[in-house]
Assembly symmetry: C3
Homo-oligomer: 349 residues x 3
């Protein structure tokens, strides 16, 4: 799954990504590693004081670190503003994603009216519906099913067993991991005379450029208008995005979160794992939602919001949690106590 | 993915679905829209006072609304008892699901002992096991895998990449969205001498007519007896239904809910998203469970039940949540305060 | 989906699994059942006093029970130390998983450099990448996709539509249910100048022997080092395991749980459904986490830990939950009241 690998000197790396070299610029690295697991030939990064002992003990050939840590090691090193992001780029250089192997596998089923770029790779047992368009350099993994009229932009990669329903639009350089389902029907039902009537879901899902979506995440198509994932959004695994949701650019959402229908999430938000966003509300830009938090009303101000129960040994929890059902009463009793001395004083007068 | 489309006059629509026309009955509509996004040729609905400004500004050609809102617009309109359900039917008329294209795709693998109705559509790369039976007019999407002995009733539609394990029974007009897994083993394990022993799961999943199940939802087969989803149940995406659960007819469950083994849920319940139902309990008919709520004991009475933590700015949550671990103590202290004045009074006597 | 079935006498069963027979050892059984649903020819088990009425009324031909319940019925019975585990073994005897049908289906696509054991079964529309190795007696269900360099140990069974990314290692006798995704990229992103930079995920997933993983569960590959699932671990459906997690041997995790990156979970833990384990923490051996509980810091001692909100009728919850936002203030007010009598007394002096 990796392309051609080779070694790079720190000098070559600096030429690509900037920063400053301290120590021997000719040192060659061929793989990334953690400080702890590194051996000769590896480059690691240091971005957190907590790992100072690991930095001191590392057997890496070179390290990426920030200006403040410049002298924390004498190993050959690259000093830069954002060591973690720099490391990400070096790792991508050392572990290049394999280029698309142009061609449609013999077992793939591509409708005659679909358009597949000549340099795209279409894997085994893929099905591509009528009038679908697969852009230049795309990789469509084995077992993917691409519905009628779907458009996938250049350089996108679908890992195996992804499903994209009819009519959805996927940008450029998008990554969809296995088991992702884009464009299934939103949950639209109307009760009538004792039976649910299905509300046809006729909108689409529109996904911007540079979006990545984790394994088994589902993004429902719009009921009438579209569900929209703006550019640069990063979704982890097993997230559910309801119909007509809009997720603003560069927002990141951790695994197992659920976004109910018609919620509008701002740009550059960070949404914690297993959190929930109720439907039909608005979250401002730059909002952070903590893990396990249910957001039940709109958030207008940037900041961090939390609503998770704290855990404790079960026997303590048992004693404490039972009081949750008496909180209002407890507050009333405290109020009564506060009022009593006054009355008592009054009575004493 | 849509069948033949055409325009309909309000007169034709009324002839099919009833209601009353106000304004020109000859107005033709060809698509549904929201009040806000509608343009000429579209029909929208109005069911919530909150959208009165949108109703006043809409460019829809016609509107569906209730008797109370009859005069809220002068546009051609259909007045009916349940505008949302009426709209659902009109949308289905204007956006008909495509009929099955009879036939088995050349790349599908159908066991010689399986029975496929002549008018059913079996997509590319589908696998159908021995003695399975696919009913009239079914559509089995690309990449679906249907186990041995499975029966699927007439008019059902499986979107791509659905898996149905051996022996499961699926009713008529059932819709299963992509990534759904029906009949995987329930979580049955017995600890014995330091190792888990698997308890074979020999029951089935039995799904009634008119059930719809959302993307990546999983319904486990029974351990011994069956797991049962009664008719008309609607399950959203990424729901987990454990072994031997029974879900009563016409119950609707929102995304990401989890139903533990052997729970029995009544008819016409509404279960909120990301809620949890513990195992081996019973929930009455017409019960509503709120989002993010864990139900840990049986519910005998209809009504709405809730147990979600409220969210707030993180710094406030921090101060408040720490008190959860002292609630029992706090209650004790209040009790002590309540008893003190009495003693004090006694001492004063 | 089941192998050759036949009847067994209690005598034969005892010869295989031990225990003691009370009543006629020649009684033959051919299927397992619950006490309630059993008919002639069935064997059931009794492990919970609560089901005594069912034991008394059962029509089973034989029962498995513990020494304490030896005389609770006069039916032919097997008395043993662990009736549930004994039942599991009897059920496996009566419902044998079908043996692999040796051979590669004509529609499967196996890279020429891959190695498939001659007695392995490779189903329809399976894709196996270069240099992958499939061990003896494996069953790879229809639509599975096995990445380059993957190794799967002897006797493992992948149900249909499982995806295993490149380079992952799967032990012997492992069971992966449909929709499982092993080795998708972990959620590694670095913010740089207003855009997320992807951190390549170059570790693997390594799964030990005798692991079972439920439908639609996802296990992410390591960012640099590996994600590790040790032997005998049992994961239910729709669980998310983040990158670089390590799950200790024989730990069992219920459905919908989420384990964030780099968490280390001990051996013989039991993790409840829909619980969450935060990243970069350590959980000791033999820890039990309750359903719906978020673990936010390391747990060093065995025991049960809980943090779930209790549910109640909505109108009661409304009154009580609002007080959560005033808990710190309430505690302050109680402290003030506790201090007041002292002052009052002082004033009185």
């Amino acid at each position: 799954m990796h392309g051609e690998r080779r070694s790079y000197s720190l000098r070559e790396i600096k030429a690509r990504f900037g920063g400053e070299i301290a120590g021997d610029p000719g040192v060659e690295v061929r793989e990334v590693a953690t400080l702890e697991s590194a051996t000769a030939g590896a480059i690691a990064f240091f971005a957190n004081e907590r790992y100072l002992p690991q930095l001191e003990a590392t057997r890496a050939s070179a390290v990426i670190l920030g200006a403040g840590a410049r002298d924390a090691t004498q190993l050959p090193r690259i000093v830069c503003a954002n060591p973690y992001a720099y490391f990400a780029r070096v790792s991508d250089l050392l572990n290049p994603a394999p280029a698309a192997r142009a061609g449609v596998h013999a077992s793939a089923v591509v409708d005659g009216s679909a358009t597949v770029a000549p340099d795209a790779e279409i894997g085994p047992c893929v099905a591509i519906g009528r009038e679908a368009r697969i852009g230049a350099g795309c990789v469509i993994g084995a077992g993917c099913v691409i519905g009628a009229g779907v458009a996938i932009g250049a350089g996108s990669r679908l890992y195996p067993n992804v499903t994209v329903y009819h009519g959805c639009v996927i940008g450029e350089r998008v990554v969809l991991h296995s088991g992702v389902v884009i464009g299934a029907d939103g949950f639209g039902i109307a009760m009538d005379d004792g039976r649910w009537v299905k509300v046809p879901q006729v909108g689409r899902v529109v996904i911007g450029n540079d979006v990545e979506i984790g394994a088994n995440t589902t993004v429902d198509r719009g009921a009438i208008d579209d569900t929209v994932i703006e550019e640069g959004v990063k979704l982890d695994n097993q997230i559910q995005v309801g119909h007509n949701v809009r997720i603003g650019a560069h927002t990141a959402i951790a695994a197992c979160a659920g976004i109910a229908g018609s919620a509008r999430i701002g740009r550059y938000c960070r949404i914690g794992g297993a959190s929930g966003i109720a439907g039909h509300l608005t979250i401002a830009d730059n909002v952070e939602i903590s893990t396990f938090t249910l957001v039940t009303k709109s958030i207008r101000e940037p900041g961090t919001y939390t609503g998770a129960y704290v855990f404790e040994p079960h026997k303590d929890w048992r004693r404490n949690a039972v009081q949750l059902r008496h909180l209002a009463e407890l507050a009333d009793r405290v109020r009564a106590l506060e009022e009593k001395p006054a009355k008592t004083r009054r009575r004493r007068r």
